[in-house]
Symmetry: C2
Subunit: 155 residues, 2 copies
Protein backbone atom coordinates (compact mmCIF):
# COMPACT_ATOMS: atom_id res chain seq x y z
CA UNK A 1 0.00 0.00 0.00
CA UNK A 2 1.12 3.51 -0.74
CA UNK A 3 1.03 6.16 1.94
CA UNK A 4 -0.68 8.58 -0.43
CA UNK A 5 -3.72 6.34 -0.70
CA UNK A 6 -4.27 6.35 3.02
CA UNK A 7 -7.13 8.80 2.83
CA UNK A 8 -9.17 6.31 0.84
CA UNK A 9 -9.10 3.75 3.62
CA UNK A 10 -12.17 3.02 5.63
CA UNK A 11 -10.20 3.04 8.86
CA UNK A 12 -10.62 6.28 10.78
CA UNK A 13 -7.09 6.24 12.04
CA UNK A 14 -5.78 5.91 8.50
CA UNK A 15 -7.88 8.90 7.48
CA UNK A 16 -6.59 10.85 10.46
CA UNK A 17 -3.03 10.08 9.48
CA UNK A 18 -3.75 11.10 5.92
CA UNK A 19 -4.42 14.56 7.37
CA UNK A 20 -1.85 14.92 10.15
CA UNK A 21 0.37 11.87 9.81
CA UNK A 22 3.02 13.22 7.46
CA UNK A 23 6.47 14.00 8.69
CA UNK A 24 6.62 17.44 10.36
CA UNK A 25 2.88 18.06 10.21
CA UNK A 26 2.32 17.66 13.93
CA UNK A 27 5.31 19.84 14.66
CA UNK A 28 3.87 22.51 12.41
CA UNK A 29 0.71 22.29 14.49
CA UNK A 30 2.71 22.47 17.70
CA UNK A 31 4.05 25.80 16.51
CA UNK A 32 0.58 26.90 15.55
CA UNK A 33 -0.59 26.13 19.08
CA UNK A 34 2.27 28.29 20.30
CA UNK A 35 0.77 31.11 18.19
CA UNK A 36 3.19 30.93 15.29
CA UNK A 37 1.40 31.99 12.14
CA UNK A 38 3.83 32.99 9.41
CA UNK A 39 5.75 30.98 6.90
CA UNK A 40 9.21 32.25 7.79
CA UNK A 41 8.55 31.83 11.50
CA UNK A 42 7.48 28.23 11.06
CA UNK A 43 10.50 27.65 8.90
CA UNK A 44 12.99 29.27 11.25
CA UNK A 45 11.64 27.50 14.33
CA UNK A 46 11.41 24.06 12.74
CA UNK A 47 14.43 24.28 10.45
CA UNK A 48 12.73 22.16 7.81
CA UNK A 49 13.00 22.40 4.04
CA UNK A 50 10.90 25.27 2.75
CA UNK A 51 9.47 23.07 0.05
CA UNK A 52 8.20 20.62 2.64
CA UNK A 53 6.74 23.38 4.77
CA UNK A 54 4.91 24.83 1.77
CA UNK A 55 3.43 21.42 1.05
CA UNK A 56 2.38 20.73 4.63
CA UNK A 57 0.73 24.10 5.12
CA UNK A 58 -1.16 23.70 1.87
CA UNK A 59 -2.29 20.25 2.91
CA UNK A 60 -3.47 21.41 6.32
CA UNK A 61 -5.38 24.28 4.73
CA UNK A 62 -7.00 21.90 2.24
CA UNK A 63 -8.12 19.73 5.10
CA UNK A 64 -9.52 22.59 7.11
CA UNK A 65 -7.06 22.35 9.97
CA UNK A 66 -5.56 25.75 9.19
CA UNK A 67 -6.95 28.79 7.43
CA UNK A 68 -4.81 30.97 5.16
CA UNK A 69 -5.55 34.60 5.88
CA UNK A 70 -4.15 37.66 4.08
CA UNK A 71 -2.73 40.14 6.56
CA UNK A 72 -1.54 42.67 3.97
CA UNK A 73 -2.19 43.29 0.30
CA UNK A 74 0.89 44.79 -1.26
CA UNK A 75 2.80 42.65 -1.54
CA UNK A 76 0.30 39.92 -0.71
CA UNK A 77 1.23 38.27 2.58
CA UNK A 78 -0.56 35.50 4.40
CA UNK A 79 -0.68 33.90 7.76
CA UNK A 80 -1.94 30.55 8.87
CA UNK A 81 -4.44 30.26 11.68
CA UNK A 82 -5.96 27.30 13.39
CA UNK A 83 -9.57 26.50 12.64
CA UNK A 84 -11.85 25.00 15.28
CA UNK A 85 -11.12 21.64 13.77
CA UNK A 86 -7.41 22.28 14.19
CA UNK A 87 -7.89 23.47 17.75
CA UNK A 88 -9.59 20.17 18.48
CA UNK A 89 -6.23 18.49 18.12
CA UNK A 90 -4.63 20.47 20.90
CA UNK A 91 -5.85 18.31 23.81
CA UNK A 92 -4.64 15.26 21.92
CA UNK A 93 -1.21 16.74 21.43
CA UNK A 94 -1.08 17.59 25.11
CA UNK A 95 -1.94 13.96 25.83
CA UNK A 96 0.88 12.78 23.59
CA UNK A 97 3.28 15.18 25.27
CA UNK A 98 2.15 13.88 28.67
CA UNK A 99 2.76 10.34 27.47
CA UNK A 100 6.39 11.01 26.56
CA UNK A 101 7.02 13.10 29.63
CA UNK A 102 5.73 10.25 31.78
CA UNK A 103 8.10 7.77 30.16
CA UNK A 104 11.14 9.82 29.24
CA UNK A 105 11.28 12.47 31.90
CA UNK A 106 14.31 14.69 31.53
CA UNK A 107 16.37 15.42 34.63
CA UNK A 108 14.64 18.73 35.16
CA UNK A 109 11.14 17.76 34.23
CA UNK A 110 9.14 18.60 31.15
CA UNK A 111 10.28 21.53 29.01
CA UNK A 112 6.75 22.73 28.47
CA UNK A 113 3.73 22.83 30.74
CA UNK A 114 0.12 23.50 29.88
CA UNK A 115 -2.09 25.64 32.00
CA UNK A 116 -5.82 25.12 32.07
CA UNK A 117 -6.96 28.71 32.11
CA UNK A 118 -10.41 27.70 33.29
CA UNK A 119 -9.09 26.49 36.63
CA UNK A 120 -5.69 28.15 36.60
CA UNK A 121 -3.58 25.05 37.15
CA UNK A 122 -0.94 23.29 35.10
CA UNK A 123 -2.52 20.06 34.01
CA UNK A 124 -2.15 16.74 32.28
CA UNK A 125 -4.70 15.66 29.74
CA UNK A 126 -6.63 12.75 31.27
CA UNK A 127 -8.62 10.61 28.88
CA UNK A 128 -12.01 9.80 30.31
CA UNK A 129 -15.03 7.85 29.17
CA UNK A 130 -17.73 9.97 27.58
CA UNK A 131 -20.36 7.65 29.10
CA UNK A 132 -19.33 7.07 32.68
CA UNK A 133 -16.79 9.84 33.16
CA UNK A 134 -14.13 7.59 34.62
CA UNK A 135 -10.49 7.83 33.55
CA UNK A 136 -9.81 5.16 30.97
CA UNK A 137 -7.63 2.23 31.88
CA UNK A 138 -6.02 1.23 28.55
CA UNK A 139 -6.83 -2.41 29.26
CA UNK A 140 -10.51 -1.59 29.49
CA UNK A 141 -10.86 -0.60 25.83
CA UNK A 142 -12.53 -3.16 23.58
CA UNK A 143 -12.67 -2.15 19.91
CA UNK A 144 -15.48 -3.64 17.85
CA UNK A 145 -17.06 -3.07 14.44
CA UNK A 146 -19.28 -0.03 14.17
CA UNK A 147 -22.16 0.81 11.81
CA UNK A 148 -19.85 2.12 9.08
CA UNK A 149 -17.78 -1.06 8.93
CA UNK A 150 -17.57 -2.77 5.56
CA UNK A 151 -15.88 -6.07 6.21
CA UNK A 152 -13.47 -6.80 8.97
CA UNK A 153 -10.61 -4.30 8.89
CA UNK A 154 -11.21 -0.98 10.50
CA UNK A 155 -10.30 1.50 13.19
Amino acid sequence: MRWRDLGDEECSLARALAVVGDRWTLLVLREAFLRVRRFDDFQARLGIARRVLTERLKHLVEHGVLRKVAYQDAPPRFEYRLTDKGLGLHPLLVGLVNWVDAHYAGKNGPPLLHRHVTCGHDFRSVMTCSECGEAIDPRAIAPHAGPGARKKKAS
Copy 2:
Protein backbone atom coordinates in the same frame (compact mmCIF):
# COMPACT_ATOMS: atom_id res chain seq x y z
CA MET B 1 16.77 19.66 10.37
CA ARG B 2 16.74 15.98 9.65
CA TRP B 3 13.87 13.80 10.81
CA ARG B 4 16.29 11.28 12.27
CA ASP B 5 17.63 13.81 14.75
CA LEU B 6 14.21 14.44 16.19
CA GLY B 7 14.89 12.34 19.28
CA ASP B 8 17.62 14.73 20.35
CA GLU B 9 15.25 17.64 20.54
CA GLU B 10 14.24 19.03 23.87
CA CYS B 11 10.62 19.30 22.78
CA SER B 12 8.50 16.48 24.17
CA LEU B 13 6.35 16.30 21.09
CA ALA B 14 9.43 15.90 18.92
CA ARG B 15 10.60 13.06 21.14
CA ALA B 16 7.18 11.45 20.95
CA LEU B 17 7.27 11.64 17.18
CA ALA B 18 10.75 10.16 17.15
CA VAL B 19 9.11 7.08 18.68
CA VAL B 20 5.73 6.86 16.97
CA GLY B 21 5.85 9.53 14.28
CA ASP B 22 7.24 7.52 11.39
CA ARG B 23 5.05 6.50 8.51
CA TRP B 24 2.98 3.41 9.34
CA THR B 25 4.02 3.22 12.96
CA LEU B 26 0.65 4.24 14.36
CA LEU B 27 -1.09 1.88 12.00
CA VAL B 28 1.12 -0.92 13.27
CA LEU B 29 0.00 0.02 16.76
CA ARG B 30 -3.63 0.10 15.67
CA GLU B 31 -3.27 -3.51 14.62
CA ALA B 32 -1.55 -4.32 17.89
CA PHE B 33 -4.52 -2.86 19.74
CA LEU B 34 -6.71 -5.15 17.65
CA ARG B 35 -4.64 -8.03 19.01
CA VAL B 36 -2.50 -8.63 15.95
CA ARG B 37 0.88 -9.95 17.04
CA ARG B 38 2.71 -11.68 14.22
CA PHE B 39 4.83 -10.35 11.43
CA ASP B 40 2.89 -11.86 8.56
CA ASP B 41 -0.42 -10.78 10.05
CA PHE B 42 0.73 -7.20 10.39
CA GLN B 43 2.06 -7.33 6.87
CA ALA B 44 -1.05 -8.84 5.32
CA ARG B 45 -3.40 -6.45 7.11
CA LEU B 46 -1.40 -3.32 6.39
CA GLY B 47 -0.04 -4.24 2.99
CA ILE B 48 3.20 -2.37 3.62
CA ALA B 49 6.69 -3.25 2.47
CA ARG B 50 8.13 -6.03 4.61
CA ARG B 51 11.36 -4.12 4.97
CA VAL B 52 9.53 -1.15 6.42
CA LEU B 53 7.54 -3.34 8.78
CA THR B 54 10.72 -5.00 10.03
CA GLU B 55 12.22 -1.61 10.72
CA ARG B 56 9.16 -0.23 12.50
CA LEU B 57 8.72 -3.26 14.73
CA LYS B 58 12.38 -3.14 15.68
CA HIS B 59 12.12 0.54 16.46
CA LEU B 60 9.03 0.08 18.61
CA VAL B 61 10.71 -2.75 20.51
CA GLU B 62 13.81 -0.62 21.06
CA HIS B 63 11.65 2.11 22.50
CA GLY B 64 9.75 -0.20 24.79
CA VAL B 65 6.38 0.18 23.10
CA LEU B 66 6.31 -3.45 22.01
CA ARG B 67 8.00 -6.56 23.39
CA LYS B 68 9.32 -9.30 21.11
CA VAL B 69 8.37 -12.66 22.59
CA ALA B 70 9.32 -16.11 21.30
CA TYR B 71 6.26 -18.30 20.93
CA GLN B 72 8.09 -21.35 19.56
CA ASP B 73 11.70 -22.48 19.38
CA ALA B 74 12.17 -24.55 16.25
CA PRO B 75 12.20 -22.76 14.02
CA PRO B 76 12.42 -19.65 16.21
CA ARG B 77 9.28 -17.59 15.87
CA PHE B 78 8.36 -14.38 17.60
CA GLU B 79 5.38 -12.25 18.25
CA TYR B 80 5.07 -8.63 19.22
CA ARG B 81 3.09 -7.62 22.26
CA LEU B 82 2.21 -4.26 23.66
CA THR B 83 3.98 -3.15 26.81
CA ASP B 84 2.26 -0.99 29.40
CA LYS B 85 3.93 1.98 27.80
CA GLY B 86 2.45 0.97 24.46
CA LEU B 87 -0.97 0.43 25.99
CA GLY B 88 -0.80 3.98 27.27
CA LEU B 89 -1.16 5.16 23.71
CA HIS B 90 -4.50 3.47 23.16
CA PRO B 91 -6.67 6.19 24.72
CA LEU B 92 -4.82 8.75 22.62
CA LEU B 93 -5.46 6.81 19.43
CA VAL B 94 -9.10 6.53 20.36
CA GLY B 95 -9.11 10.30 20.79
CA LEU B 96 -7.61 10.76 17.35
CA VAL B 97 -10.14 8.38 15.84
CA ASN B 98 -12.93 10.31 17.56
CA TRP B 99 -11.51 13.52 16.13
CA VAL B 100 -11.70 12.29 12.52
CA ASP B 101 -15.06 10.64 13.02
CA ALA B 102 -16.41 13.92 14.34
CA HIS B 103 -15.19 15.82 11.29
CA TYR B 104 -15.38 13.31 8.47
CA ALA B 105 -18.28 11.10 9.41
CA GLY B 106 -19.02 8.49 6.76
CA LYS B 107 -22.62 8.03 5.67
CA ASN B 108 -23.08 5.07 8.00
CA GLY B 109 -21.15 6.27 10.97
CA PRO B 110 -17.74 5.24 12.24
CA PRO B 111 -16.35 1.90 11.11
CA LEU B 112 -15.01 1.07 14.52
CA LEU B 113 -16.39 1.70 17.98
CA HIS B 114 -14.68 1.35 21.32
CA ARG B 115 -16.37 -0.16 24.30
CA HIS B 116 -15.38 0.82 27.79
CA VAL B 117 -15.54 -2.56 29.46
CA THR B 118 -15.62 -0.97 32.90
CA CYS B 119 -19.02 0.59 32.28
CA GLY B 120 -20.10 -1.47 29.28
CA HIS B 121 -20.83 1.42 26.91
CA ASP B 122 -19.38 2.49 23.60
CA PHE B 123 -17.52 5.67 24.34
CA ARG B 124 -15.57 8.60 23.04
CA SER B 125 -12.32 9.60 24.67
CA VAL B 126 -12.90 12.91 26.43
CA MET B 127 -9.84 14.88 27.41
CA THR B 128 -10.20 16.30 30.87
CA CYS B 129 -8.06 18.40 33.17
CA SER B 130 -6.09 16.39 35.71
CA GLU B 131 -6.55 19.21 38.21
CA CYS B 132 -10.18 20.24 38.03
CA GLY B 133 -11.64 17.28 36.17
CA GLU B 134 -13.47 19.40 33.62
CA ALA B 135 -13.46 18.56 29.91
CA ILE B 136 -10.86 20.68 28.21
CA ASP B 137 -11.94 23.44 25.88
CA PRO B 138 -9.09 23.70 23.35
CA ARG B 139 -9.09 27.49 23.73
CA ALA B 140 -8.44 27.14 27.44
CA ILE B 141 -4.97 25.65 27.02
CA ALA B 142 -2.05 28.00 27.67
CA PRO B 143 1.36 26.46 27.05
CA HIS B 144 4.26 27.93 28.98
CA ALA B 145 7.88 27.03 29.74
CA GLY B 146 8.36 24.25 32.28
CA PRO B 147 11.28 23.40 34.58
CA GLY B 148 13.11 21.42 31.91
CA ALA B 149 13.09 24.26 29.40
CA ARG B 150 16.45 25.41 28.10
CA LYS B 151 15.78 28.53 26.13
CA LYS B 152 12.60 29.40 24.33
CA LYS B 153 11.63 26.61 22.02
CA ALA B 154 9.80 23.69 23.51
CA SER B 155 6.67 21.59 23.68
